[in-house]
Amino acid sequence: MMDIKQFAQPESGKINPAVFSDYDVYEQELEQVFTRCWLYVGHESTVPNTGDYLLNYMGADEVIVVRGPDTRLRVFLNKCRHRGNKVCFFDRGNARSFTCTYHGWQYDTEGRLFGVPFYEDAYLSQLQREVNGLVEVPMVASYKGLIFACWDPSVMPLDDYLGDMRYYLDHLVLHEEVGGIEIVAGKQRYMMPTNWKLLSDNFASDNYHTPTSHASAFKVYAESERMRRDRPSGENFQVAVGYPSGVPHAYAGLRFLPTFDEALERDLRNAEELGPEAVDWVKERYHRAELHWADEPITVQAGTNSHIFPNLSMITASAGALEARGIIQWHAKGPLLTEVWQWAAVDKEAPKVVKEAAIRKLMAGQSAAGMIAPDDSENFERSTDNLASHMTKLQPFDYTMGLGFESSHPRQAEWEAAGFTDMPGLIGPWMSEVSQRQYYRYWAHLLTGA
């Protein structure tokens, strides 16, 4: 078995590529990461009624997220207790019960085994139905609609696990002050031939790749008058949440501004093309936001990409009133293959014309067939091609950007004076690998216990 401490040395910025290709490491991750962390399993808006369910994965395990008659959300392994067959076969839907198609065992939406064919003749009424319910994931909790589950009963509460990330989720993703979000119907799914952690660490804070990886998109965007006009003022930052020893999450491309005026002006300009309903929505949304966040001397108003440990990412672009949010999950399928799931979240109370325009914009950018994501996929395919070779494994990847300057950047005093460093988490420059080092620090801790 690989010595993780030797292969992952995030404190010195060295990660051996074997951790991205080794099957043993993947199996350790299934045991030590995906069973001990809070994992995103869905959004409450997609399972509003009794019997509504959806399927997702927790690591390699397929689970059913279902709302019971008591309105509680429960999460079960999609697995019959008799021979392990699946009991739920649709991506989502509504059901009164789940029935195995092998021998016909039937479970209700609270996981209880209530139907066993030939119970008297075959089992002589001896089978204990009450201990043969669906295997239930013990910990289920929501943060403002985002549902998480965890196999470890001793895991810290979800609020503590998310920590300072909640501030950024509140401001850039969830927007309860304007009525919250809904996840719209439709889910993108596509394969990426690479290790899931490389996608996570890219979303955590790899802004360094954007000018090169996405050069073609930025080049044609620059031809667009609107794109030039909508460019926000101010400087991009990133935040490392959980620094230096907690659960690492990250948000990148943050902009801190004292008022919403600039964003309001931009969104009003673009809303005019969508009609009066959109204009009214923009005015109403910023009015409510200003009332709600009035006490904050500066507010975070943009955040491009973010990551919640271990495998949930979000893309929020300018986080304006006309934007959808992409919710992305990286499902590991072995060490060298990832199945990407992407949903779209929109402001629940926005008019239809705004929701449609927001989703169209998301699809054209960071999306399975967009102008951004496929170029990432290409780069990961090329680097993964190199992972399986012997010499590759002898040379660690370099994660040293910003190492040693986490709290002492040359411009630290300037940022402190502006109040930026008072924001939750460790605020740092747009280009830095601090969040990636954090990611592998916590990942190695879970695998080694150290």
Binding site: N49, D91, G93, A185, G186, R189, Y190, I359, M363
Partner: protein, 167 residues
């Protein structure tokens, strides 16, 4: 209006020529086959056990939902030479079959269904296949045909790779 079957050869010729342009990377010529008001839609696929009480979704996420302006922007992106996922260009071969003129919704328009299988190869060895069906609306323009609406229904619920080609 019933399907005008005598137009079958013309319609097939249009679709095969379109496939040839795409396979040869002649994207600007391909854009000329699209009307200015085209809607190019590629929905996602999910299996849903429906709740009869559930209302139809107000909006939904697709893979693509674009008009001419955005499709042209994509072609310009390819033309930069910096669209890494198409450098070097994918080798593609499009097989278009089951061409069926469904009906004629207007004097100068046809609804046409067709199936496709696209082989895509990158770097000489990474092979993907996309299979699907298309619901097209063709419009007679200046004696020829142009595409004014396309819905691409990919058979695979999980796409084999991120999409960098047109269907």
């Amino acid at each position: 209006m019933a399907a005008p079957l005598d137009l079958q050869p013309e319609v097939e010729r249009f679709l095969y020529y379109e496939a040839l342009l795409l396979d040869e990377g002649r994207f600007n010529e391909w854009l000329d086959l699209l009307t200015d008001d085209i809607r190019y839609l590629m929905p996602t696929a999910e299996s849903v056990q429906s709740n009869p009480d559930a209302a139809a979704p107000e909006v939904s996420l697709s893979y693509m939902d674009e008009g001419k302006e955005l499709l042209a922007l994509r072609v310009r992106q390819l033309d930069t030479g910096l669209r890494h996922v198409e450098v070097p260009a994918s080798l593609t071969r499009r097989l278009v079959t089951n061409v069926l003129i469904v009906d004629a919704p207007a004097d100068d328009e046809l609804n046409v269904a067709s199936n496709f299988l696209v082989f895509q190869i990158r770097h000489g060895r990474h092979e993907s296949q996309f299979s699907g069906t298309r619901r097209d609306r063709l419009r007679r323009v200046d004696g020829g045909w142009k595409l004014c609406e396309r819905t691409v229904l990919i058979t695979q619920p999980v796409l084999p790779r991120a999409v960098s080609i047109f269907f």
